[in-house]
Every structure is written in C-alpha cells, then in structure tokens.
C-alpha cells in the first residue's frame, strides 16, 4: 500500500489499472479527460498492458466497450455530461446485454446553457437504464469503487457506473491509499466466463430481435421474451442490494480499508434531522452536522452511495426516529422534484412514523455549496420539522434573490 496525493480522476485511473482492465475506449470531455490521459500514458509506457482505443464519440466509446466485453475482456470507459447523454443509446444496450462493464462518470451539468462544472444531472438522467450506480464521497472511494465495481458487475452480469463529482473530486488532489497489485489480484480474479459465447465453432446470434411473447428456441426450450428478460434484469439489480455491501466487506478484508456499503451514516442515532446526499456533499455534510451539534442541534447525515438499486430497506432502517430528512439533490426532474428526494419519499411511504422529506436543490452548474449555506438550510429544516411541517416547497440553496439581480 502506498499513499499518493492524487485527484479523483487519477484515483479512477488507478482503480482501472489495479483491476487489470484490458480494453479502454473513451472520448475526451471535461472534467473526465484526465482519467483517460492517465491511462493512455500508462498504456504507452507499458505500465498497463491494455488496449487503448481512441474513438470519435462517446457513443462509439460505449460501442467498443460493448464489443470488448462481449468478447470476454474487462473493459472500461469514462465520460461526463453531454458525453454521457450522447452515449445514452449504448448505455441501455450495455445494460440489456448484461455486460459487466465499469464506467466512471465525473459528474457535470448538462447543457444548455453550456457549463463545465459539477452537478449530478448527467448520471441521474440515466438512472433508469439498468446499471448499478454508485456515488463516491472522496477520492479513496473512487479508487475502491472502481475495483469493487468489477466484482459486482461480474457477479451479477450488470454494468456499474462509478459517479464522482466533477472538479470537487475529479480535480482535487488528496491522500489516497493505493493498494498493492497482489492484494487487488486476490480480491478480483480474472473475469469469469461471459454469459455469451463468441466462438465460430459454436455460433450464436447475440442480441437478436425478441418478440413480444415467449417462444421455443432451436432446442425446443420455451424462452422468455423481452418482458421476461427485463424482469430478470430487474432482479439482478435487486441482488446488488446484497452484492454491494458484501463486496465492500470483501474489499475491507483484502485491503484493510473500511468497507463501503449501500449507504453511509454519520451521527444518526439521536438525530432529529438527517441531511441526505450523494457524492462529495456527504463528506461536507458530516462537517456541517458536527458544527451544528456544537450548537446543540441534533443533526445527522445519511449518504446514499448506491442510488441504483435504491436501498429502500436500508434508508427506512437508518431514518427511523428522525423527524425530517433534508435531501440535498444536485439534480432535478424538472417539473417535479429531485431524484433522491423522490426515491426517498417512495421508500418511506407507508412506513409508520416516517420522517418528513424536504427537498432541496443545490450546486447546479458548479454553484459552490458552502458549509455555511448547508448549516443554514439544516437549521431552517429543523425549525420546520419541529413545527410539524410535513411538506415544503422545493428549496434552492444559494439561489440569487430577484431583487439582487437588478
């Protein structure tokens, strides 16, 4: 184990290198580009025996990963923002083809207007695509999650998206324990036999058109159609609710680092209000909770590491006894609510004494979310919770007041 002062992008690259990724295909986009620049340098110098394929778009990057993974290789890509949006068609294909890819998303806002800075609208917009989605709190978790991602993906035959905040993590250097290759090799053996077989002696048509209804295959076996395959996919994702924490524990045993599971919690036991977030905001929220505790305000933090599958049982359990959850979404389903707030409300619905769920949107397009602003939002939410407010309009943290604009 070596401690390196590295950015989130470099941590992602280290994760891919330690996972012995065999094929990397990517197209540059801020803030992801340094991931692939780093991998490219290692491939060029011979430090990483992988095939690096420069492509003409993100759509092609995912297409190459689909081809490589279909042939049995361990494949990796990374993107951000509009690159992810452009890749979307193939994101669905990779998931439906049940390919165990890992993709890093250095989270960035979507245009228009053009903006290169952080929020989580890009990955949140594809959360229904059938990938496991894991959000990282810091650079250590980026490295750890990329490696763990392959073990989860290859166990369940689903792709894993490793999301981390652009610039806040992607470009911020901090100490990261880089485990020894031998420890990672013991944790992550070479990729097991793929579901699909590519063998001229035993030809298959992989991904053919599937009819609406079940039909018999060439061997006379009755096979499910689109609906049955989708149901199986859903069930595989639900299995991730067990696989993600188990793999986290196995990683802890292999590297001696604390395991990371579906959620992270901080001082929730006697909390009246919980700050709920995903990504680097979880780290900063723990600082805010500690500061508010010094003021005598019982604040805790629930970090959502695994957004898909959504850890409904875990959040119900962890939020028991809390008056209200203030969800800090860095994305919005326009015309409704933040994605994590929506999921949390659904998870808590019908639970006896369920906490109120207050939605807040913050950080869009890189707007700085300061500890002070978070503390202020938490104080207001606690006051509302104590007054018994069940619902509140969406709060915009840090939004310029109309009178300031003139």
């Amino acid at each position: 184990m070596t401690v390196r002062i590295i950015t989130g992008n470099e941590a992602a690259a280290w994760g891919a290198r330690l996972a012995r990724v065999q094929v990397v295909a990517a197209y540059p986009i801020t803030p992801q580009s340094p991931v692939v620049e780093t991998l490219s340098a290692w491939v060029e110098s011979g430090e990483m025996p992988a095939e690096l394929i420069a492509v003409e778009s993100e759509h092609s990057a995912m297409s190459v990963c689909i081809g490589a993974a279909t042939a049995g290789a361990r494949a990796f890509t990374a993107t951000s923002s509009n690159g992810l949006a452009y890749m979307t068609e193939q994101i669905w294909w990779a998931a439906g083809a049940r390919l165990p890819l890992v993709m890093c998303v250095a989270n960035r806002s979507l245009a228009a207007p053009w903006n290169v800075l952080n929020d989580q609208q890009d990955s949140m917009s594809v959360r229904d695509a059938g990938w496991v989605q894991l959000y990282c709190r810091d650079n250590q978790e980026v490295l750890d999650t990329v490696v763990q991602g392959y073990r989860i993906a290859e166990r369940l035959n689903v792709p894993v998206m490793v999301c981390y905040d652009g610039f806040l993590l992607s470009h911020t250097a901090m100490p990261v324990e880089v485990p020894d290759a031998a420890a990672v090799d013991a944790f992550l053996p070479p990729r097991p036999q793929p579901l699909q077989i590519v063998d001229p002696a035993d030809p298959r048509n992989i991904g053919p058109v599937v009819m609406a209804d079940p039909r018999r295959d060439a061997d006379g076996v009755l096979r499910g159609a689109y609906l049955e395959l989708r149901a199986a996919h859903h069930e595989a994702l639900l299995e991730a609710l067990e696989a993600v924490p188990e793999v986290g524990e196995a990683w802890a045993r292999a590297t001696g680092r604390p395991g990371c599971g579906l959620v992270a919690e901080h001082r929730l036991d006697d909390a009246e209000i919980a700050l709920v977030a995903a990504g680097s905001l979880v780290t900063q929220s723990t600082l805010v909770a500690d500061l508010l505790r010094e003021e005598g305000l019982p604040v805790g933090v629930l970090g959502i590491r695994c957004c898909r599958p959504f850890p409904a049982a875990a959040v119900r359990e962890r939020l028991r006894g809390v008056r209200a959850a203030l969800v800090l979404d860095k994305a919005l389903s326009y015309g409704y609510a933040g994605p994590i707030a929506t999921d949390l409300r659904a998870a808590l619905y019908g639970t006896p004494d369920a906490p109120a769920v207050y939605g807040a949107v913050c950080g869009l397009g890189g707007r700085d979310v300061t500890p002070e602003a978070l503390a202020e939002a938490a104080r207001a939410a606690l006051a509302d919770a104590r007054a018994g407010a069940v619902e509140r309009p969406l709060a915009w943290i840090g939004r310029m007041a109309r009178e300031e604009a003139r």
Binding site: A112, P113, W114, A405
Partner: protein, 104 residues
C-alpha cells in the same frame, strides 16, 4: 419578462472578457521606422490589424495597439513582414546575492 433571465445570452462588447491586458507578460512595441505603413505614411499593409485575434489593433500608420486589451500573444510580431514589432518583456528579473553562493 427579460429574455436574458430565461436563456443564457451575451453580446459582443469591448472588454466582455474582462481587462485582458492584465494577461500579458510581453507587450508588442511597433518600430515606426520599420513599419511599412508608417514609412509610406499611408494606411497600407495592416497585416497585424487583420491578424489580431482580439481586435485590439487600430488601423493606422503605424497601427496602434490597445494595451488595455492586448494579451501579448505575439501574433502581430510574428506576421509583420517588416519585422517591425518586437515583443518586450513586461519585467526584468535577476537573482539575489544570498542565492549566488550555491547549495543551501
């Protein structure tokens, strides 16, 4: 409702990108005795004016550089067929006596 509150828009304006003259580490200095336009006393040549990416050169004999906005890129000096433009560093640097003694 003001459309600029609904969509992102900007318009071309002097200094829209800020006072870009602050970016400069070297400034273009025109030698009028070599400048083709200046020696002919007519607004000829103007190749520097045409190439300036920041449009901060005004036509003339010689052309005039607006140092408030010139970033010091040096393209004008590079394209001048008469080599009449020199890029002059904004500051001269040296080493103090303490450091001249060798390793610490």
């Amino acid at each position: 409702m003001d459309a600029s509150d609904l969509i992102a828009m900007s318009k071309p304006a002097r200094g829209e990108a800020g006072r870009t003259g602050d970016w400069r580490s070297a400034r273009p200095v025109v030698d009028a005795s070599a400048c083709i336009a200046a020696t002919q006393d007519r607004v000829t040549c103007q190749i520097c004016w045409a190439h300036c990416p920041d449009a901060c050169i005004e036509q003339g004999a010689p052309p005039a550089v607006d140092l408030e906005f010139c970033k010091g890129c040096g393209i004008c000096a590079d394209v001048c067929p008469a080599h009449a433009i020199a890029m002059v560093p904004e500051a001269e640097h040296g080493v103090c006596e303490a450091a001249e003694g060798g390793t610490r």
